[in-house]
């Protein structure tokens, strides 16, 4: 890939990433939000993160297929325990990586 093409690519990626980050702040911060909307928005993060986690843990390959028990999903259990216990993103990421590395060696 040529350098100008790459620059155009990341500029495009940057633009389509920035706009969804900006628009709600621009429009929603200027007015009072209705109560139901605030309550609905409150459920958004848990829903997104869970959708990401489930698809990362239980789907594999192309075309994708369901694989409930595999190294990724098994390692998730102790990783969640570390997150609950330490409440620290750093420790959780490092423990998850080490546990996965070990699990792949064993399996």
């Amino acid at each position: 890939m040529a350098e100008t093409e790459y620059l155009l690519l990341i500029a495009g990626m940057g633009l389509v990433t920035y706009i969804p980050r900006y628009l709600p702040l621009f429009f929603l911060a200027q007015r009072e939000l209705p109560c139901w909307l605030i309550e609905w928005l409150d459920m958004i993060p848990v829903a997104i993160l869970s959708a990401l986690v489930f698809s990362e843990l239980f789907l594999s390959g192309t075309p994708r297929h369901l694989e409930l028990v595999q190294a990724k999903s098994l390692v998730a259990i102790p990783t969640i325990l570390v997150a609950l216990r330490t409440r620290s993103l750093g420790w959780t990421v490092i423990s998850g990586m080490i546990l996965f590395w070990l699990a792949e060696k064993i399996i």
Binding site: W36, W40, L41, V46, L49, T92
Partner: protein, 260 residues
């Protein structure tokens, strides 16, 4: 140096419990320090994650400067991982941009949640703040805003400090990539572990746990019907709506039987 200036209220924690009051005031003293205290867990998470990204990008043929530029312009971890994977399989730039849009559209929902706490801010501040809205800064800032006593400049500091950690660690990974074997050090698990941790932090009660299960199951189900990555957005909207309905229903029942 505006952020370091010491304001008239030395202990902002004692002045007000109302975050809205804090919003209008100038940055309190120790904004950077408080920002660091809140952002360091993100930074510690970004170091292995950014390193992992840098290594993978180097394997895909990107130089350290290319990697740094992408981290500055895009600043969205998971989509950067996906873009590099697509680059190595020689995907068309337009399809990479479209995928980036779909994967990062979740920030639209996050910015919407944060907007509640940034009511009436200037447009200049909002456009700077928007740049730093990520899964991680969102999760941390939302918790802090909910607790109250969280100043908009402290939230901005969290965004920008995390951004620096991301740019630094990805660039470093780009330099170090040539010395690291593909697939070693559990690098493939960095992103999953981060999502797991952020999800765990969000489970603040039974309704949230149920929402997570509904949304996760929906993601799996929809992923078999829809091609590409858009199933994440669809499942999130479905899961959040289901959770919202459940919450309303539970409250109605309680007030019906309990006589609120």
């Amino acid at each position: 140096m505006l952020l370091m200036r010491s304001g008239p209220s030395q202990e902002d924690s004692t002045t007000s419990n109302d975050h809205r009051k804090g919003l209008k005031s100038p940055p309190p003293s120790g904004t950077l320090r408080e920002g660091f205290k809140a952002a360091w867990p993100i930074c510690v998470g970004y170091l292995p994650l950014g390193f992992a990204f840098g290594v993978l990008a180097q394997k895909a043929g990107l130089g350290p400067l290319d990697i740094a530029l992408m981290s500055v312009l895009v600043y969205a971890g998971s989509s950067q991982f996906i873009a590099v994977a697509m680059l190595s399989s020689a995907a068309a730039p337009l399809s990479i941009i479209l995928t980036t849009f779909i994967v990062n559209f979740r920030h639209f929902l996050m910015s919407s949640s944060l907007a509640v706490y940034l009511h009436g801010e200037s447009r200049g501040f909002l456009s700077l703040f928007a740049y730093g809205v990520t899964d991680e800064s969102f999760a941390i800032n939302l918790v802090k805003f909910r607790e109250g006593r969280w100043h908009r400049y402290q939230a901005l500091a969290v965004n920008q400090i995390s951004n620096l950690a991301w740019i630094g660690s990805t660039t470093f990974g780009g330099y170090a990539g040539q010395f690291v074997l593909a697939g070693s050090l559990g690098i493939d698990y960095a992103l999953i572990a981060m999502f797991l941790c952020l999800l765990t932090f969000q489970l603040r009660g039974r309704i949230y746990l149920l929402t997570a299960i509904v949304s996760g199951a929906a993601a799996i189900a929809i992923s078999f019907v829809v091609a590409g990555n858009s199933f994440v957005i669809m499942a999130s909207l479905f899961g959040a709506t289901a959770g919202f309905a459940l919450k309303r229903y539970a409250r109605k029942r309680r007030s019906h039987y309990g006589g609120d």
